[in-house]
Symmetry: C2
Subunit: 190 residues, 2 copies
C-alpha cells in the first residue's frame, strides 16, 4: 500500500522580501489552481493555512461559491476540485485532521519544499517518489507563500524536497507557488 499525501499552503509564518517573518493574504487563484492540481494527481486533501479568521471566512466563501453555489452549478468539474480544499488556522490543525481519518498508519509527517535548499540534507524527487510507494505514515507536503516558509516550519519537517531546477541553469529560479506545486505533484505522481 502506498502512503497518502496531502498538501498545505501556508500564509504564516512565511518570509517577506527582506527576510522578515510575515503573514500573506489569500490569493483566489491559489485555491483554484492547487485544488485542481491536487485532484488531478489523486491527493487526499489540500489545506489552506491562515491564522486570521477573516481570511479563513473569505476562503470558505470562495469554496462555497464553487461547490454549493452558482459557480459549482455552472462548472461542475470545479466543484469536484474545490471539495478537497480545507481551511485551517495552522499546520497542527491540518495534521490533526489528517490523523482523524479512519485508516492512517501512524502520525503524519511534514515534508517541506523551498526554491533554495534550507541548508539541511535534501531528498531528490526520485527518492521521495520511492518512499511514497512504500508503507508508511501519511505525508503533509508544505508550500509557502511570499518569499517562502520561515525556518521554524522547515525545522519541523521530517524531509526537505530538493529545490526544483531546470536541467540547464537559467540563472533564474522564481516559479509561482502554483507552478511549483504542480511540478512537485507531477514529479511525484506523474
Amino acid at each position: 500500500m502506498s502512503r497518502k499525501l496531502a498538501i498545505a499552503l501556508v500564509h504564516h509564518p512565511v518570509l517577506g522580501r527582506d527576510g522578515d517573518i510575515l503573514t500573506t493574504t489569500i490569493t483566489n487563484l491559489d485555491l483554484h489552481d492547487m485544488s485542481r492540481s491536487a485532484r488531478t494527481y489523486g491527493l487526499e486533501a489540500f489545506y489552506v493555512v491562515h491564522p486570521f479568521a477573516s481570511q479563513r471566512l473569505l476562503s470558505e466563501r470562495i469554496i462555497g461559491h464553487w461547490t454549493d453555489g452558482a459557480g459549482g452549478k455552472r462548472i461542475p468539474d470545479r466543484a469536484k476540485a474545490l471539495k478537497c480544499l480545507r481551511v485551517v488556522p495552522d499546520l497542527d490543525a491540518a495534521l490533526s485532521d489528517m490523523s482523524s481519518g479512519a485508516e492512517t498508519s501512524g502520525s503524519p509527517e511534514l515534508w517541506t519544499t523551498a526554491a533554495r535548499a534550507p541548508g539541511e540534507a535534501e531528498v531528490s524527487f526520485a527518492a521521495a517518489r520511492e518512499m511514497l510507494d512504500q508503507d508508511g505514515p501519511p505525508v503533509l507536503m508544505v508550500f509557502g507563500t511570499g518569499w517562502g516558509l520561515a525556518s521554524e516550519v522547515h525545522e519541523r519537517a521530517a524531509l526537505y524536497l530538493a529545490p526544483i531546477q531546470a536541467s540547464k541553469d537559467s540563472g533564474f529560479n522564481h516559479l509561482s507557488v502554483r507552478a511549483a506545486c504542480a511540478i512537485c505533484l507531477d514529479r511525484l505522481f506523474g
Copy 2:
C-alpha cells in the same frame, strides 16, 4: 545544438464550455506565472496572443508596470521574468517574430498541447525532449485558455504533445493552464 523553444498562450480561437469557438479575456496571473516558468526553464520568449487591441494594451500596461514601472523597482526578479513576454494579435505574428531572430535554422514549428488528445498521433514528452536536444527549427509550443485550443489550431501543428496525466488515473484531469504549462516545461527541460 539544441532547438529553441518559445511558448504561446492563445485567447482566440479557443473552445467554450459547450464547444463553441470564442475569445477569452487576459488573466493577470497567466502573464506572471507563465513568464516566470518560461524564464526559469530558459525559454526564448512567451507570446500572449489576443486579437483585441484593448486586451493587448492592457497586457502591455501590466508588463510595463512590472518591467519599467514601480513593480519592477520593488521586485527586480519579476522584471527579469516579464521581459520575455511579447504581446501579439495572432500566432502568425508570433511565428514571424521568432523567424526574425538572427540565428534560426528554418521556419518555426507549431506544437500543440491539450488535456484530451485531439485525435491525431501524439508524441510522448520523452520523445519530444529528445527531439528538442537535436538540431532543427525553433518550436512554438501553444497552450489554449478557456476549454482548450480550437481544432483549427491543432490542424496547423507539426506535433501534438501527449496529454498530461497522473500515473494512477484519478478520474479528473482539469489542470489550470498555468499548472499545465509549468508541468510541460519541467517534463521537457527539468
